[in-house]
């Protein structure tokens, strides 16, 4: 059962990484236009370099 001493912290840590990542996506406005983002991948236009 000593394996639990490793596994439980590891699983909590990995879950925590997921949570932190989710918080990052919320903070960087990635849920503002879910419908548009779903359609944008179908387009050939790359919009990751906006005109400045």
């Amino acid at each position: 059962m000593t394996i639990l001493a490793y596994l439980i912290p590891i699983s909590l840590f990995l879950g925590g990484v997921g949570l932190v990542f989710f918080v990052y996506t919320v903070k960087s406005n990635q849920y503002d236009d879910p419908e548009g983002d779903a359609r944008r991948i179908l387009s050939d236009e790359y919009d990751d370099h906006p005109k400045r």
């Binding site: 059962m1 639990l4 439980i8 699983s11 909590l12 879950g15 925590g16 997921g18 949570l19 989710f22 918080v23 919320v26 849920y31 503002d32 236009d33 879910p34 419908e35 548009g36 359609r39 944008r40 179908l42 387009s43 236009e45 919009d47 906006p50 005109k51 400045r52």
Partner: protein, 729 residues
């Protein structure tokens, strides 16, 4: 001018209290323009790229981004670019576009409450998944020290999570209790807290059953419902606010020295001289001191015919100046104008609507006391039977957890989210939370005429009967004018491929018409009295060529897109359709015959409309009012549910529950169908939730409910309810 506004967070509390003042203060010439456009007709990736490409190609646009979810484009550009330019650019691509006030939008852009809920939801989800993993090991046979350790780890995760994620429920329950009321959040809070307390107690005594996973799953599912609910409302609210941003409240004031200055309407005072250009709307009540023109009063009274206006005549706020510039002296401003006084009728009528109780509230009213009584009875019963506080408390907690309204909390928001999303894609915006439920009950539909069933733009009807030479002449006179009738002639003649006649010295006489010289003779196109014609009952303008008898050009109001389909579909669905208008009897009768509406009311005053609707309501009808004008506002508020187009006056949009974003009326009929099936789904969801309770509650009361059964019942009912909501078509 809106284009150059960029609201920044203001540290000055007075500015926050008076956003208008802040906006004016922000109007500095060197700010880059933030332009927002509403695009009600976009629907796919091709629309996005087409609009973004065209906007980016504009040399002065720095960046442009289309948001498909909100059907909106935000553009950052050089200060000299106006929203009007951008609007025309997008309209040139074949999309409908409306200008939005970027200042009003930014205030709602950062949806803090929504983010907070999402964060709590994420934390609850994370914690419940981890605790569920630990619980699964317990259920599959972990015993003794291992089980205790798993329970303690679960407790260590659950306690801080509940403290953070459960706050919305705790706050709402506390607010209800301190008002000596019960709401849905009271049993929720009690269940969560009781589950945590008994689980801690059990764990400290090395007990077998702990409900940490249940408490967390409960929080997670309920937060999911809460978040869906919030999102639907936030989208509707921000869009409703952007609609109020459609009318940019500016006016041109003449100073003592005769200079023009652009000011906010709120700053106008009685006695100010205000210049209203053709196409502009009167910002205040006043008297005309200079100029002749015609004014369009359709939004206030429903009349389609423009009214002649000259010096000395009184005008009301909301009327539109058509042909010549007018200078008016303000006699009433702000809340004293006739526009606002009419809006006050709304407040009276609106009090009637708040009587409607939503299905969710009805369910909660039955549910909350029932659950508490049941749980208390279980506690008392088991205590008297065993005289063991621990067993009794455990069972009471199990009953509360099992009955906790997870599925009930999701039943309504899951369906309304699906339904409002569907309607939004069709171009309808649900503003009021119970609007869908009320729309589902509608059996009578009342339409306004001008601006609702008709587009408010006239259409030439007797082109075929007119001599070609006269049409050529009329086109030559009409093509330079911005008067709606002249534009209708131009449009009709161009479509028929008619070229204008050669005339010289074309001059527009504001308020009367247009005149010109043809072969040394004067020709006139304009109102009856000015061209020597006898007026007729229909909307008409006359062409006078020298001494010949004047020729009448007759117009009818153009039907709005989808109007005929909407009326037909509503009649097919078995609804009674009425037409009520402030316009003349002949105009209303003509339209009613054209659309096949047998019940109509003409020359109705605003109070007539609302009292007629009241009478229908008293007869037991559930009335849907569709209208756009100020004269409809009281009727919109008096009806059971109301719809107004996006082009409607502010007051009308505020009074209505649903706003049509596009120009098309046809979604109205399908919206009624969607609303009905949504209500059916909500009822089904309540039934599903009840069935789960009926099965699980006796087990819980009998003390046979393990945490495993509780988790299964809770998840299964929540998932079934959500899936049922997605069936909505």
């Amino acid at each position: 001018m809106t284009a150059s506004m960029r609201p920044t967070p203001s540290a000055c509390p007075a500015c926050a209290a008076a956003p208008a003042a802040e906006k004016l203060a922000e109007m500095q010439p060197h700010d880059p323009a933030q332009i927002a456009l509403s695009l009600p007709t976009i629907h796919c990736s091709a629309c996005i790229t087409k609009i973004e490409k065209a906007l980016d190609a504009h040399p002065q646009v720095k960046s442009a981004r289309v948001n498909l979810t909100l059907k909106r484009a935000s553009i950052e550009a050089e200060p000299e670019v106006t929203a009007q330019d951008m609007k025309e650019l997008v309209e040139g691509l074949g999309f409908e576009a409306h200008e939005l006030d970027a200042g009003t939008l930014n205030a709602t852009a950062n949806d803090r409450a929504g983010r907070e809920l999402l964060m709590r939801l994420a934390v609850a989800g994370f914690a419940s998944m981890n605790v569920m993993l630990l619980s699964v090991s317990v259920w599959s046979g972990a015993a003794d020290a291992t089980r205790d350790m798993f329970h303690w780890i679960s407790a260590a995760i659950a306690l801080p999570t509940i403290a953070f994620s459960g706050q919305p429920f705790f706050r709402s329950a506390w607010a209800a209790l301190s008002n000596k009321q019960l709401n849905m959040d009271v049993p929720i809070t009690l269940a969560i807290l009781l589950a945590i307390v008994t689980s801690l107690w059990e764990t400290s005594l090395s007990g077998e059953h702990a409900y940490f996973d249940a408490a967390l799953a409960l929080t997670f599912f309920l937060l999911a419902g809460r978040y869906l609910d919030h999102r639907t409302r936030a989208i509707a609210r921000s869009a409703a606010e952007e609609l109020t941003a459609l009318e940019v409240p500016r006016a041109t004031r003449l100073t003592d020295t005769g200079d023009e200055e652009i000011v906010n309407v709120a700053q106008l005072a009685v006695g100010d001289l205000i210049l209203v250009r053709p196409g502009g709307r009167m910002p205040v009540d006043g008297g005309i001191t200079q100029g002749t023109s015609e004014i369009d009063r359709s939004l206030l009274t429903g009349e389609t015919l423009p009214v002649f206006a000259s010096e000395g005549q009184a005008v009301s706020a909301g009327e539109v100046n058509l042909t010549g510039p007018l200078t008016i002296r303000a006699t009433a401003v702000g809340a004293d104008t006739s526009l606002h006084q009419m809006a006050d009728l709304v407040a009276i009528a609106e009090s009637g609507r708040s009587r409607y109780t939503s299905l969710a509230d009805k369910a909660a009213k039955l549910y909350a006391p029932g659950v508490h009584i049941l749980s208390a009875l279980a506690f008392v019963g088991w205590y008297l039977y065993t005289f063991d506080l621990r067993t009794a408390l455990n069972i009471a907690a199990a009953v509360l957890i099992i009955t906790c309204p997870c599925a009930l909390g999701l039943a309504v928001p899951a369906v309304t989210t699906a339904a409002s999303g569907r309607l939004f894609r069709k171009g309808m915006l649900i503003k009021h939370e119970t609007a869908l439920e009320r729309l589902a009950q509608v059996d009578t539909v009342v339409f306004d005429k001008t601006g609702t069933l008709t587009a408010g733009t006239p259409e030439l009807t007797n082109l075929a009967q007119l001599p070609r030479a006269d049409v050529e002449l009329a086109l030559a006179l009409a093509q330079g004018s911005s008067h709606p009738l002249a534009q209708a002639i131009t449009r009709a003649a161009r479509e028929a491929g008619i070229a204008p006649a050669q005339v010289t010295d074309v001059t527009e006489v504001p308020g009367y018409g247009t005149k010109a010289q043809l072969n040394g003779q004067e020709v006139r196109l304009g109102r009856a009295s000015w061209t020597g014609a006898q007026g007729c009952a229909e909307t008409a303008t006359f062409l006078q060529n020298g001494d010949a008898a004047p020729v009448a050009f007759v117009f009818a109001d153009r039907l709005r897109e989808g109007a005929a389909e909407a009326v037909q579909a509503l009649k097919d669905a078995g609804k009674t359709v009425y037409l009520m208008s402030g316009d003349t009897t002949s105009a209303v009768e003509a339209l009613a015959n054209r659309l096949g509406i047998t019940r109509w009311l003409a020359e109705a005053l605003p109070a007539d409309k609302s009292s007629r609707i009241q009478a229908l309501t008293d007869e037991g009808a559930k009335v849907l009012m569709v209208g756009d004008g100020l004269n409809d506002t009281a009727a919109l508020a008096a009806a059971h549910v109301s719809i107004s187009p996006a082009t409607a006056l502010d007051a009308a949009r505020v009074a209505s529950d649903i706003v049509l974003l596009g120009g098309d009326l046809s979604p109205i009929a399908s919206a009624c169908a969607t609303a009905r099936s949504a209500t059916r789904r909500i009822r089904e969801n309540f039934r599903i939730a009840t069935v789960y309770n009926v099965i699980a509650v006796p087990l819980a009361v009998a003390g046979l409910c393990s945490p495993l059964i509780a988790a299964l019942a809770m998840s299964a009912s929540s998932i079934t309810v959500s899936l049922n909501a997605l069936r909505l078509r």
